[in-house]
């Protein structure tokens, strides 16, 4: 196997031997995970299993104690300009939306392109309106985040991430803070993205989404990746005891 072959074998995002502690708690235990371009990886598992920490480590919102995280073959820089530049290429959608509260919906989407990419204001605005149109909240562009429903805010957050033309988007429990009737509208936007080939890492409890949109399901428990499989295999025939228990609990009702 030649060098270039090895390179292409490493995914767009590659984690090797990643460990992290919160004090005594070992939250990530020797994590190895590779995510290919265009792949949708859903990370599921009981709360406290480390799945959010894993997601946040990929753009270094959480530092790691040991191991390597490569993005597009480059190791994550530890601080400063290089890290900021990398983060610009990694979209992030948070559980609590985190829209900039003092900016309008339109400004929320244009802020990154304007301040980080130094895009021309006219272009940034035009692109932002296209994205808001795509996620179905263009008519709210001049409002402030607090005036929108949770579902609308989360769709704006997705548009904000897309505006940076990211290589990959991380979703940290994007629907967990939403009222049930709003979950679907956000999931539909995400399914759409997946279909268009966006590389996505999605931490979620939405098994329906995992079945429809995921290429691969990663099951975590107690800081470890316990099982990795296609959704079909994982949901119908989980091999590990812990995955069986977990699925038994959530799929019962």
């Amino acid at each position: 196997m030649s060098d270039s072959d090895t390179l292409t074998k490493t995914g767009l995002v590659a984690l090797t031997g990643v460990n992290k502690h919160f004090g005594e708690l070992h939250v990530l235990k020797d994590i190895n995970l590779s995510i290919d371009q265009g792949e949708v990886v859903v990370v599921i598992g009981p709360s406290g299993s480390g799945k959010s920490t894993l997601c946040r480590a990929i753009n270094r919102l959480e530092t790691i104690d040991s191991g390597n995280i490569l993005l597009d073959g480059q190791p994550l820089p530890s601080e400063g300009k290089a890290l900021a530049k990398l983060r610009a290429d990694v979209g992030m959608v948070f559980q609590s939306f985190n829209l900039f509260a003092h900016k309008t919906i339109l400004q929320n989407v244009t802020l990154g392109p304007l301040k980080v990419r130094k895009t021309d204001p006219k272009q940034a605005e035009q692109r932002a309106m296209e994205l808001l149109e795509r996620v179905g909240v263009a008519n709210q562009a001049s409002k402030y985040p607090a005036q929108l429903s949770g579902g609308q805010q989360q769709r704006v957050a997705i548009a904000r991430a897309l505006a940076m033309d990211p290589k990959v988007i991380l979703f940290d429990e994007p629907t967990s803070a939403l009222d049930p009737e709003m979950i679907q509208e956000v999931l539909e936007v995400m399914i759409d993205l997946a279909k268009q080939g966006m590389t996505m890492v999605v931490v979620t409890h939405e098994m329906g989404f995992a079945r429809t949109a995921a290429n691969r399901v990663v099951f975590m428990a107690d800081g470890e990746i316990v099982e990795e499989a296609t959704p079909e295999t994982f949901f119908t025939n989980p091999t590990s005891r812990r995955a069986q228990d977990f699925l038994g609990k959530i799929l019962k009702h």
Partner: protein
């Protein structure tokens, strides 16, 4: 009673004019340095955080008179060239007030949910951008009332400069005493003078609070 003021008008006028200049120059400089110190205290660089913490702990706990004494006498002892008394007084007031403004800024930053800064970092903003574009504009609303208290304290603190041969409003009583004027009436007029200076600050605060009020 009015004659005490009118007969000595130049003394009052010049004294208060110097007070106003001391206040404005020290106020602006303290806002700049204090905000920078506040940024140090929330920065990701441990050395900067350490510096900010050390600065605040030392300066906030030193009596202002001592800060003045260090600059006016200490610096002279060490053969350091001193600027004129006005700028030395500005220096002492700024060094002291910056520590308080730093803490006001930091408390304001702490009122903003961490998710705001995280989201800003996630789109690739630098530390300075996160602070100036996302965090501080939102923190400003919470900062206004305590900030005004610090600025009003600064205005009153300028009177310490009188003890160091700066002829601001605080030096008026001594001069009036030499002229044999009634001390009580003198103090009354000085109090009125400070109240008049503080009124614009109160209106500034009201205006800023209204402007930043949540819709």
């Amino acid at each position: 009673m009015f004659s005490v003021l009118t007969d000595n008008w130049p003394l009052f006028r010049d004294g208060f004019w110097l007070t106003i200049r001391l206040f404005l120059v020290s106020g602006v400089l303290s806002l700049v340095f204090g905000t920078a110190l506040g940024a140090f205290r929330v920065s990701p660089v441990p050395a900067l955080r350490g510096f900010g913490t050390g600065y605040v702990n030392i300066l906030r706990n030193t009596p202002l008179t001592l800060v003045f004494a260090f600059l006016f006498f200490g610096a002279a002892k060490m053969d350091l060239a001193l600027p004129n008394p006005f700028w030395t007084a500005v220096g002492a007031l700024t060094i002291y007030t910056s520590a308080f403004i730093c803490e006001v800024v930091r408390s304001g930053v702490n009122t903003i949910a961490p998710g705001q800064a995280e989201a800003a970092r996630a789109v690739g903003m630098s530390f300075v951008q996160v602070l100036t574009i996302v965090v501080l504009p939102q923190a400003f609303r919470a900062i206004i009332p305590p900030l005004m208290s610090v600025l009003i304290a600064l205005l009153k603190n300028t009177t310490i400069a009188a003890g160091f041969s700066v002829v601001e409003a605080g030096s008026i009583p001594a001069a009036m005493s030499e002229r044999g004027e009634n001390q009580l009436v003198t103090l009354f007029w000085i109090t009125i003078g400070f109240l008049i200076l503080i009124v614009p600050l109160i209106f500034l605060q009201r205006w800023a609070e209204r402007r930043t009020a949540v819709a």
